[in-house]
């Protein structure tokens, strides 16, 4: 598809829609919008536009659709597969000026927000009202709710609470032609229309621009406990998981961290967490009413005792918990900082197969001699393998990583898994999509994209080629 380059005439038209000072054309100003958090991925936009309301978004899309200009919506820019990177240039539309919490509706347990609200800010405002939005990506203090919806983000709490798609009950979106639709609302149930809400969640900005989000929230849990334990063998982790499911308790989170990730992060954040020496670490979070938390902690103690695990660090107060989560949320940066380049993946398998997947994966990264930090959402079957470039040439390293990734994806699929659990396909996993989806499904994605965006102006080049 041929796109029009942005001319001074087009700039003038954009400035008729959005105040001149929010239309950035200077390379220095636009540079921060040429990348997200995906290592090594840079594509400069021609213009960056900071919108302030839905009308501006609609007018901009109408203009782009008429003039065949690619437009890439952008949240916090924390994506890990290049979702917000303007592959074809054109406009980056940033929602940083649309960051209002419009309503906290306590009677309906609903919150209505603009897309640019930072996830962590929303969490803090809700907590004041005794409410809780459980979706907590590691980047929660910089990612936006709009970005979370576009990427269908999730976080450590997904074991108990699920991810973004479980919470969106209403959207206001602008279609590529500039038309506005408002599916759903402050509703528990609704079968009036096709479920466009869920289709848009995770569509990575390829189908519509999201201008308002209605989220379901839940009562803030009364009590929270986190613990971390060191394990000598991965098989202990398997036994712990199996017993947790057998005993039918649902922890808030069950995370895994390997030795490399622990050591690298300890050095990076200069932390004094007095962790036991071990090859593997498991963290488990429990929340709820006091009696429920006590009961579940007793069951967990039981399980740890059966597995002969003594070194368990329990964080009962908020300060200790914050320290533990700060540690967890710093792992990625620590690993990134320890090499010159990093390739990350977020394969997901049925949770019962995660240890088997990890054992098979280890053989793969050892075969290709790759330095790897392993950590993530053990309880969701979604553990991250981050490959860190240390020495050797970039090209040669990338070839090894690509071969390893391809093998990991095939292993995951053979176990009933998929190639992305929470980061999306974006740019970096596009070439692997055919491993996970058959031709008919990829073709159906293409036809769906065309039904929404016949001129392919919205975030072109992502997920699949048209």
């Amino acid at each position: 598809m041929d796109y029009q380059k942005i001319t001074p005439k087009i700039i003038r038209k954009i400035e008729e829609i959005v105040d001149k000072k929010y239309v950035l054309t200077d390379t220095q100003d636009t540079h921060p919008y040429s990348h997200d958090e995906t290592p090594g991925l840079n594509f400069p936009p021609e213009v960056v536009v900071k919108v302030k309301d839905t009308h501006q978004v609609a007018d901009l899309l109408k203009l782009c659709n008429k003039e065949r200009i690619p437009l890439t919506p952008r949240g916090g820019g924390t994506g890990l597969t290049g979702g917000a990177v303007p592959l074809m240039g054109g406009i980056v539309l940033t929602f940083e000026k649309m960051s209002k919490i419009k309503d906290i509706d306590k009677e309906n347990y609903i919150v209505v927000v603009e897309p640019g609200v930072i996830n962590g800010n929303l969490q803090r405002e809700l907590a004041k009202e005794g409410l809780f939005y459980p979706v907590n990506p590691a980047s929660m203090d910089s990612c936006t709710i709009g970005g979370n919806v576009a990427e269908s983000s999730s976080g450590a709490n997904a074991v108990k609470y699920g991810g973004t798609k479980e919470y969106v009950t209403g959207l206001e979106v602008v279609l590529p032609c500039g038309d506005l639709i408002k599916p759903g609302g402050r509703l528990v149930k609704n079968v009036t229309d096709y479920k466009f809400i869920q289709l848009l969640v995770g569509s990575e900005g390829t189908l519509a621009a999201i201008t308002e989000i209605t989220l379901r929230v839940v009562p803030l849990p009364e009590v929270k406990v986190d613990l971390i334990a060191g394990l000598d063998r991965l098989s202990s982790a398997y036994n712990i998981l199996r017993k947790i499911w057998e005993r039918k308790i649902i922890p808030t989170s069950i995370e895994y961290i390997d030795e490399v990730a622990i050591k690298t992060t300890k050095d990076y954040i200069q932390d004094d967490l007095s962790l036991p020496q071990a090859y593997h670490y498991i963290t488990i979070g429990i929340d709820g009413k006091e009696e429920e938390v006590n009961r579940n902690m007793e069951i967990l103690s039981d399980i740890f005792m059966q597995e002969n695990i003594q070194d368990v660090l329990v964080a009962e107060d908020r300060k200790a918990q914050e320290k533990l989560w700060k540690f967890r949320q710093s792992i990625r940066d620590a690993l990134l900082n320890s090499g010159t380049l990093m390739v990350e993946e977020d394969i997901v398998v049925p949770r019962s197969r995660i240890i088997e997947f990890m054992e098979k994966s280890k053989k793969v990264y050892q075969k290709y001699n790759l330095k790897t930090g392993v950590y993530g959402h053990l309880g969701d079957g979604n553990v991250h393998y981050n490959f860190i470039k240390t020495s050797s040439s970039e090209r040669e390293w990338e070839q090894r990583v690509e071969k390893a990734l391809s093998e990991l994806f095939k292993i995951a699929i053979s176990l009933g898994g998929k190639i992305s659990g929470e980061h999306g396909i974006g740019v970096t996993k596009k070439k692997f999509l055919h491993l996970a989806l058959n031709k008919a499904e990829i073709e159906l994605m293409r036809r769906t994209k065309i039904a929404f965006d016949p001129n392919n102006i919205l975030n072109p080049g992502k997920i699949f080629d048209l």
Copy 2:
């Protein structure tokens, strides 16, 4: 769109795909498939085909797509808006021979089923394993999981547990062209593809034929309590609801039944439930661990005391609970039996506005002098108004109902609601769709339908016209 009539030649082709004895052409045999539970809606199919596996479904769809024959998938035939009625004739494809529970996967809390499994049968099998599928439509002993997915059904438990769309993690579906896709799986998270799973949930058989369903299940609650109380004023119901949300407890169900529905049902099932005399009834279910249930029951007692409500019937044992739910599930049949024709609706509004909606609705049905039974999911903002024809001519009664419905829909929409919370649009609400959705959204539904089903062979004439 012109469709081909089914000729003896086509019948022979169908019989090459499916054993002759499962291809019904005799009017006597096909008659039961000409209607669902929607009063007064009858359209005969030309052929009924009982499929036994996915291959047969794929071959049938390929044939229909090539020969331009309409095909309507059918579950238990309990739909209330005509979703399974073959408006354009052609084939009714029934899944009654595909009713296996393929796997109960205890480690992943997952169950894999064929579409023809009866909801209640699945519930009973899961309970034996200590697992629970919480979606319980009133028709649970005759509706199928395939039908539930197609209609995005929900039931009384939605207050705490949500509806069908919250539980489907994987599907196998045949597209109208005969291609098979298998989005999702036994996965907690997955962002590898567009969320076709949720798009298909509630698409009323218009986008694809579902041949296998993977559902998330949860641990079976340890304890369950149900109560029913009589109220003199609707404002008491409002106060109870408001206090429940304020105290941040989440009951499993909060149902409403009016005096007409109570009396009619008592007569119909000859029940001896010793209910207090009242104008309005509220039932509340609580489930969970024992200490959680006790705690919530104490809070409820508190609330009832504050509202000065003394006559509360508590069903603590299973027998008493079954009796109460049998009563609840018989309301619709009782009302239907009390007149010659019934029009039902399932408007949904934000739960905080439900009492306001009910007060305004009363004025409407009184204005049009309509006999009405009112009952349903108070805690979800989804209370059913069933209009019962008593005397007067059918045509004249229908005109009054249609005017009343149109006013009710407009009231609901003005309160932030939609025209269907759980029954779907089907045939009966098609003409009202424009009240709830703007032109752009209806147009997007059409384009999505065409992306999936360019020849419009799957359940044509439902939801909207192409």
